[in-house]
C-alpha cells in the first residue's frame, strides 16, 4: 500500500509540469453543418488535457472574430465565461461558410533590470518602447496564436479562407465542413504567408472519455506545407501545429501556433 502511494506521488509530481505544457486550447462548435433560412450555433472554448473536455481553464476570447461569408463581422451573442469554458453563440443569417477565430499575438520579453530578472508582455507595436529604461539582456519572442473553427449554413463557400500572412494559418484544399469518414482531406499550413514545410500536425479526436485509446496521430507537412488526413471515425477533431524559432540578440524569436476544430460526419 505504501509503495502504491509513493508511486502515485511520484507520478503526480512528474505529471504536473508536463500537464502545464500539455493543456490544449480548443474552440469547438455545437454543430458545423446547418440547413434552413437561418441557424444558431454555440461555441465552447477552453484549455484542457483531453480535447473538447472542459476540465481545466476557460479561454480568454480577447481576440475573437466571427467572419460571415460576405466578409462582415458577426457579433457573438450570449457570451459567458464559466469556470472551465467560455461560451458564446453565433446567429447565422447568410448562406455559406463562417470562420470563428480567436487570434492573439504580441511580444514576450525577458530582461534584467538592476540585476533582477523580469518579464514583459505587450503588443508588437509597443516593443521595444514598452521596456523600461536601462533594461539589459533582453530576449524577446514574437507570439502568434490562432485558434479557429468553421461552420456552414447550407452550401459551403470559401470566402473566409483568405489569409493574413501573420503567424500559422490554414489554407483548406478540402473544405473543412465537407469531411466524412474514410475520405482523405488535404490542408496547407502557411507560416507568415510562406508554406510551412516539415511541420508536425497533431490530429486528435474528441470524446476521449468514452474510450480507452486516445487514438491520436501525427502527420508531417510536405514541401508545399500540405498535409492529408484520412478520417478513421466520425467525430470532432482537433488539429494543431506550432513553430518555434529561437531569438538571437536583436533578432526576435518566434512562437506561432495553430489550432482548428473540424467535424467529421459518418
Amino acid at each position: 500500500m505504501k509503495k502504491t502511494i509513493a508511486l502515485l506521488t511520484l507520478a503526480a509530481a512528474l505529471a504536473a509540469p508536463m500537464a502545464a505544457q500539455a493543456h490544449r486550447a480548443w474552440l469547438a462548435p455545437t454543430a458545423t453543418t446547418l440547413s434552413g433560412s437561418d441557424a444558431w450555433v454555440g461555441f465552447d472554448a477552453g484549455m484542457s488535457n483531453q480535447v473538447f473536455n472542459p476540465d481545466h481553464a476557460a479561454m480568454r476570447l480577447t481576440g475573437l472574430a466571427i467572419t460571415a461569408p460576405d466578409g462582415s463581422a458577426v457579433q457573438p451573442e450570449h457570451a459567458m465565461q464559466g469556470q472551465y469554458r467560455s461560451t458564446f453563440d453565433a446567429h447565422l443569417t447568410q448562406n455559406g461558410t463562417y470562420k470563428i477565430a480567436n487570434v492573439m499575438g504580441g511580444v514576450m520579453a525577458s530582461y534584467k533590470l538592476n540585476g533582477e530578472q523580469k518579464r514583459w508582455r505587450g503588443a508588437a507595436a509597443e516593443y521595444p518602447a514598452g521596456l523600461p529604461e536601462g533594461a539589459t539582456d533582453v530576449q524577446a519572442t514574437r507570439t502568434a496564436s490562432r485558434i479557429e473553427t468553421f461552420v456552414t449554413l447550407n452550401n459551403p463557400t470559401d470566402t473566409v479562407f483568405k489569409t493574413t500572412g501573420e503567424g500559422l494559418e490554414l489554407v483548406p484544399v478540402t473544405h473543412p465542413n465537407d469531411l466524412v469518414v474514410g475520405e482523405p482531406a488535404t490542408f496547407k499550413l502557411l507560416n507568415n504567408g510562406q508554406p510551412a514545410s516539415g511541420l508536425e500536425v497533431t490530429v486528435a479526436r474528441g470524446a476521449i472519455r468514452y474510450r480507452d485509446n486516445p487514438e491520436e496521430s501525427t502527420v508531417t507537412t510536405g514541401a508545399d506545407g500540405a498535409f492529408t488526413v484520412t478520417w478513421p471515425e466520425a467525430g470532432m477533431y482537433w488539429l494543431n501545429a506550432s513553430v518555434r524559432t529561437e531569438g538571437h540578440g536583436e533578432t526576435l524569436g518566434s512562437n506561432a501556433s495553430y489550432v482548428a476544430a473540424m467535424e467529421v460526419l459518418p
Binding site: 453543418t33 446547418l34 440547413s35 434552413g36 433560412s37 441557424a39 447550407n154 460526419l265
Partner: protein, 170 residues
Amino acid sequence: MRLLPVVITTVGLAAAAAPAMAADLTVSVEIPRLNTASYHRPYVAVWIEKPDQSAERTLAVWYQQTRNNEGDGKDWLKDLRTWWRKGGRAMSLPADGVSGATRAPGRQTVTVPAARLAGLQPGQYNIVVEAARELGGREVVRVPFRWGAANTGAGTGSTELGAVRVAVSR
C-alpha cells in the same frame, strides 16, 4: 416490365388511370412501421447517382413543409447527411416536382415521367434512398439500375428503410 403494373396497382387508384408507359422510372420505397414511443415520419431523399457515387439529380425529398414551434422544416434537411453533402445543400428548395411532405409508413412511390429524364445519358446508375428520422436513425440504400432499356432492381434496408424497388419501363 412485369413489375410496373404491380407497383401501380399497389400505389393506389389515383395513378391507375395513367398509362403504364408514361412512367419511365419508378422507385418504390417501403417506410417501415416502427413501434417507438415517439414516432416521427422520416425525412427521405431519393436521387440518381453515377457509378463514382456523385449525384446526378434528386428525384424526391420529403420533409416537413411548414414551420412549427420547433423550427422550420428545412432546418433538419442536413440530417439527410449523404444527400445533403452530395447535392442537397446546393439546391434551392422547395423544388418543383421534387419537394414533398413526409410520407407515412407503408409503400411509397416516386414516378418520374420520361420527359423529366430527357437529359439522362444511357448507362449504369444507382438509385439512392436515404431516410433520417427524428429521435431515430439514418439509413442509405443503393439500388443499381440501367438507363436505356427496361430493367428492374431491388435492395433493402434494415432499420429506417424496407424494400426499395426500381423499375425502368423502357
